[in-house]
Symmetry: C2
Subunit: 216 residues, 2 copies
Amino acid sequence: MALPRAARTQRRTRIQEAKEEQILEAALEVFSLHGFRGATVDQIAEVAGMSKPNLLYYFRTKEAMHRALITRVLDTWLDPLREFDAEGNPVSEIRSYIRRKLEMARDFPRESRLFANEILQGAPNIEDELKGPLKSLVDEKAEVIRTWAKAGKIARCDPYHLIFSIWSTTQHYADFDVQVRAVLGQNQAGEGRFEDAARFLEQLFLTGLNISEQPA
Amino acid sequence: MALPRAARTQRRTRIQEAKEEQILEAALEVFSLHGFRGATVDQIAEVAGMSKPNLLYYFRTKEAMHRALITRVLDTWLDPLREFDAEGNPVSEIRSYIRRKLEMARDFPRESRLFANEILQGAPNIEDELKGPLKSLVDEKAEVIRTWAKAGKIARCDPYHLIFSIWSTTQHYADFDVQVRAVLGQNQAGEGRFEDAARFLEQLFLTGLNISEQPA
DNA sequence: TGATAATTTGACCGGTTGGTAAACATTACA
DNA sequence: TGTAATGTTTACCAACCGGTCAAATTATCA
C-alpha cells in the first residue's frame, strides 16, 4: 500500500525528489499568480503535468504545498540581508544590498509575489516566522546600521525604516510589475528598467545617507 | 417586477444610494482582506448585513462589485499625485506628496491593499486604466520633475523611478503592515511608526535629491 | 522471474460558491 | 386608498473544489 510522504521512513527516492520539485515549481507558478485561495489543485496538477490524485500523493493537502513553498521562499528571500556585513564599508554594503534585492526582483518575481500575497492576506501561516527569525535578523542588522550612524559613517536615520524602504522600492519591480510596465510604456518594456532602477535607487540611498549632505 | 440596477431608467432612489454604499463598504472590507477569489459573496452579504440575493439585486455579479470598487479606489488613489503642482516649490511639493501618500496608507489601508491585490494578480480588470489615465498623469508629472531637474532645482534623476519609489515606500506601510508590525515589535505597534516613517522618508528623499538646502 | 512496495489514475463524494426563481413585503405615488 | 414599481427573502441549483478510494500500473530487488 502506498503511504503518503510524511509517513515514509526516511530516504527520498529520486522519483520523489524530482516529482516534489516539479510540483513546487508548478505550485509557485500558480500560487504567485492567483494567491492561495485563487489557486486550485487542478490547476497546479495541470501545470505540473500530472493527475490531481498523483499530486496529492506527494503533498497531502493544498496547504502543505503552500507551506513548503513559503518556508523555502522566506529563506532565500532573507539571504541578501544575511550577507549584510558589519565589517564592510557602509557605502558598498548598502549598494550591494540594493543590487542583490533588485536582482532577486528581476530573476525571481514569482517568489516575490508569492511572499507579497502572503503578507497582504495577513500572513496567516508565517506570522511566527516574521516575529521570530525575521525580526531577529532585522534587529541585528539595524544595530549595525545604527553603529555606522553613530560613528559618523552614514547619516543618522531610523535603521528599520531604512530597511523597509530598501525592501519596498526593490520588490516593487516584481510585485507591481504590471503597473511599472504600464506606466513606462512599450519602449521601456525591456529589462532596461532594472538598470535604470538600480541607478536611481543607488543615487537616492547613497546620497540620501551621505553624511556630507546630512542636515543638522 | 424588480429590474437589476443597470437596467433601470435613470434616477437612483435614496435606498439604492444607501444600499450600494453599504455593499461597497462591505466589499472593500472583504476583498481587501482576502482578494477577489478569496472573498465570497456570502461573506460580503453578511458584513453588509443583508441577504445574498438582496446584495445581488444591487450588483448582479461579484465581478460587478469588484469593478465598481476598483474604479473608485483607483481614482482616489491618484488624487495626491494630481495635486502635485508644477508651479510649486519642489521641496514642499515632494514633501507634501510623501505626506499625503503616507496618510493614505495610514487612513485607508484597505483601499491600498485592494489595489495591491489587483496589481499583484496581473491587474486583469484595470490594465486599460493603467495604460491610459494613470500613465498620462504620471507622464505629465514626470515632465514637471524633469523640468525641475533641468532648472537645477533638484538633482538629476529618473522621474519615473522617483515616483515609483515614493509609491512603494509609502504604500509599504499599508500593504505590508503585518510585516512592519512584526519587525518593529510590540513597543512600536502604535501609530508612531507613521511619524517615524514620515521623518525618515522626508530625509531620504529630500537629501537624496539634493534639495534640502534649497531656498523656498 | 516473482513478489512486494511505490506510483499513478479514473471515478467519485460532500461541501462550498456564484447565481437564479419566484413568492412575499414594502414603498412611492396617482 | 389602490396599485404598480421597488425591495427582500426562502429555497434551490449547477458548477467547482479539495480530497478520498480502490484498482491498475510501474519500479525495486531478493
